[in-house]
């Protein structure tokens, strides 16, 4: 992919981006290289997972892209503009969610925060109301939208956070661990709704998450970084094809127990293994599947840390 080519279909183009932090310690000043010379681009309407282990530089990269942090080196073109020089023009076109940082007014009802944020973006009351109703329905927050934010559960609050960042209908949405600490129901609502919005509104999504469910549900492309370096940039399908080294065979028996075997994709023992499993008891069902994405990503992390 040519990262220096910024066309009208490119939502984001990051070129040779680096960020270093000076850190003081007893041994003297040290430089931490959080992000090292990474380049990638995202086409409009794409949903991209930006993943990596803790401390890989994901959030730092997003903070540079959204003009929260100054890069040490490199260029960023977001919707054709430099985030630092054109922040005022960019802000109405982007939405940002940091899972561990709230943008809602703690003591006010969520609906009031939406109205405030809408006003900040210069929306009319009618537009805010219309958008809020639409998003409230999608994210299923109608029943608690009038409650003060401090009284909401984490899952409820996070859904409100996402609505708040979508109220001005951004073209590109940055999500930094949006489902962290949420239960499966809240996660599901968020994933499905974001996917739907990306499809219906043509919204570009750049998502960082440690939850592979988020990645599989929302994204079709994965960018993996580790120790500040870009390791991998590929589609989810290719990632699965290329990095799956084994298949999982699960046999379910009539007495209720199940057995699982892992077998290398290059192995010629598949038929023998299936035979062995069928002979182990009264077989009621059998499945052959890929290992979960989590395992693939974990093995990639391990490979990179070696």
């Amino acid at each position: 992919m040519n990262t220096s080519d910024t066309t009208s279909t490119t939502a984001l183009c990051v070129t040779h981006l680096s960020k270093s932090f000076p850190v003081k310690s007893k041994q003297g000043n040290k430089i931490i290289h959080a992000v090292r010379d990474i380049s990638f681009s995202v086409t409009k309407g794409e949903c991209v997972a930006f993943i990596g282990p803790n401390g890989a530089g994901k959030s730092t990269t997003i903070k540079m892209i959204t003009a929260i942090l100054y890069p040490t080196n490199g260029d960023i073109s977001l919707l054709g503009m430099n985030p630092w020089t054109a922040r005022k023009h960019l802000l109405p076109r982007i939405g940002v969610i940091f899972g561990q940082h709230s943008q809602l007014w703690f003591h006010l009802p969520a609906a009031d925060s939406f109205r405030l944020i809408g006003k900040m973006y210069g929306l009319s009351n009618a537009d805010i109301q219309k958008r809020q109703s639409y998003l409230a329905r999608l994210f299923q927050i109608e029943s608690f939208i009038s409650r003060p934010v401090r009284q909401l559960s984490l899952g409820e609050r996070m859904r409100c956070e996402i609505v708040a960042s979508l109220i001005h209908q951004p073209e590109i949405l940055f999500l930094d661990e949006p489902t962290i600490g949420l239960d499966i129901t809240a996660k599901n609502i968020i994933r499905k709704t974001l996917k739907k919005l990306a499809q219906t509104e043509g919204m570009t999504i750049l998502l960082t998450s440690h939850d592979t469910g988020d990645i599989e549900e929302i994204c079709h492309r994965v960018i993996l970084i580790n120790k500040g370096r870009l390791i991998l940039d590929t589609t989810l399908d290719i990632l699965k094809q290329k990095y799956i080294t084994e298949k999982v065979i699960t046999a379910f028996y009539a007495d209720g127990h199940k057995e699982e075997r892992r077998i290398s994709v290059n192995s010629s023992d598949l038929a023998q293994e299936i035979m062995r499993l069928t002979q182990s008891g009264h077989l009621s069902d059998m499945s052959i599947s890929n290992p979960p994405l989590e395992e693939i990503i974990r093995s990639l992390y391990q490979r990179e840390s070696l």
Partner: protein
Amino acid sequence: MKKYLTLLLAAAREQISHLKTLSARVLLMLIMLTIFRQFWMVVKAETLDSQTIQPTDLIWYLLLGCLLQYGRPEGLHRRIEEDVRTGDIAYCLLRPVSYIGAKLCESLGTFLVRLPILLFFGGIWAIYLSGGELPHDFQAFPVILILLTLSMIVLSLGTIFVGLSALFLQDSLPLFWMIQKAEYILGGLFFPLTLYPQWLQTLAMSTPFGYAGYGVSHLIYEFSWISAVQTGGMLLLWIIGISGILKLMYVLLMRKVAINGG
């Protein structure tokens, strides 16, 4: 401007939901007025110029000072310091509003809700303490309230300055204490500046506190349009000056601030 007005109204709404805190402040203000009234009754013969300043005037003078003290949001510098220390201040860049403007709206929204409540109870108490008498220039009250709002803006900008100074000082509390004491003394919160030695009066009036405190409050018993216009003009100049300093600080801060990754 609409967005700042919305922020101001949000702060006002939030304040309405904190009526318990406000009632505690009202009570504290009434106690302060009572204590100082007793104090002045004892010392007035020796210290006050009875030709120009009457005890009634002083009660209202103190009331105006109290409106400034208790009308502003508490802990604003602490919240700003926290934003600076944690790097949260950088997240405010994601909103299409100025951080300083938003904090000022928070102060103003709080003040506009607290002012009528404090004034209502404080006014009744001041009338009671002065035996039903009104201050000498009571008819100037509307002008004084406008100037009082300008004073509040000046002092709030000062508090924002203290909060942002955490970038250089790590802990803004010592500076906050210094500024607070300067506000009490140089602003003439408890005593009109005319009771101070001349050199201290000159010093006080060369700081924003002199105009924000005494400059406005003394108009309640010594009103003149010249004085009011001069005080208003000086307060506006201080607002412009401090805003400029804050803007510079903010730019510097945004270049220095470091936020942890995820």
